[in-house]
Symmetry: C2
Subunit: 190 residues, 2 copies
Amino acid sequence: MAGRPVDHRRRLELLDAVVDYAVENGFSELSWRPVAAALDVSTNTLVHHFGSKEHLLVAILGRLRERILAATAELLGAQHDLAAAARAAWEQTSQPARAAEFRLFFAVYGRALQAPEQFADFLDRVVADWMAALRAAQGPDVAPAVADREATLVIATLRGLLLDLLTTGDRARVEGAADRFLATLARPED
Amino acid sequence: MAGRPVDHRRRLELLDAVVDYAVENGFSELSWRPVAAALDVSTNTLVHHFGSKEHLLVAILGRLRERILAATAELLGAQHDLAAAARAAWEQTSQPARAAEFRLFFAVYGRALQAPEQFADFLDRVVADWMAALRAAQGPDVAPAVADREATLVIATLRGLLLDLLTTGDRARVEGAADRFLATLARPED
DNA sequence: CTATTCTTTAAACGTTCGTACCAGAAATTT
DNA sequence: AAATTTCTGGTACGAACGTTTAAAGAATAG
């Protein structure tokens, strides 16, 4: 038993660079050669580390989801209630600097919806991860059924608002709606 | 001045068939030849009517948006207030039979977000059309700023919930969140 | 040092892509 | 009937695609 060890760090380094590329240049027409050229490696370096195009796409979806979750998860954990967590999440995700990242997010999300078997892992986690975080933000005193309902509504509303913001760029209008939503959260009616 | 007239009906007939194809077979890898084979026409028939691949994609986005809007617009007009309109829209769009259509919707939406110049028309209308319908549903007595805010929130929330439903298929949970949202709409707090 | 495995690049393969060109059939006006 | 334009299908072309193969360099274990 000998030989050069597998370089997992190198794979992740390449993957992050590919995700960066997809953020900037789009996801729908991604192909080996332009990506490799942009990263200044040979196409076969990418093929070697990712195996096939299909595997690369799955890896991109996984890494992007991971990145987005990581950027907000710890922030959510520090909040004392759902309203605060939702506001923190909104303020984080609606930053102009992250717009391109979320445009890619919705692009890959839509693609995953049309190929659910190929991207099953993404679809399994893209809601569930946030559900877990937003359930936790409500503490142990909220009934599970209510916590689920509230978490679901927060995820849906924030994603829908983000979609609108990325579409229209009408920040004043979208922020107004976000404030309205976050205000109702702060004053639960039941 | 003579010659065979342009057959616009034929173009629309083909376009609808292409959209149907995209609903069933996905949008990301659409190409002339498989579509033409499925429609039992030559590839050149499609090229002749749509000009180029880019134009075809734009036409697909436009037609899909048009279809979805048409299926709901008149329904919304018949409602007497925003809560009723929102509920009608949700019941319409969350039908299992229309799931594939909305998976395509989110797929093309995501793609449009990463190529905003190419799909500017789609992006200009995909929010604005619904804004107009949901502003109208609130009647003339609601202040414009409030009507905008409420309409924005309804669009975002319903789209976010639909995204969740298509992702997880967890209808009970998503319906619960939808009911919660629609209930808050029925009892406006300010 | 040797053996082994991983990493990287270059070259080439067959396939599919979008598009252009051509010719015939169909539909309209004069 | 003649002229003109659209519609359709067959063929072909160059480009780009994903993938495979072969070979050289790098890093580990014995």
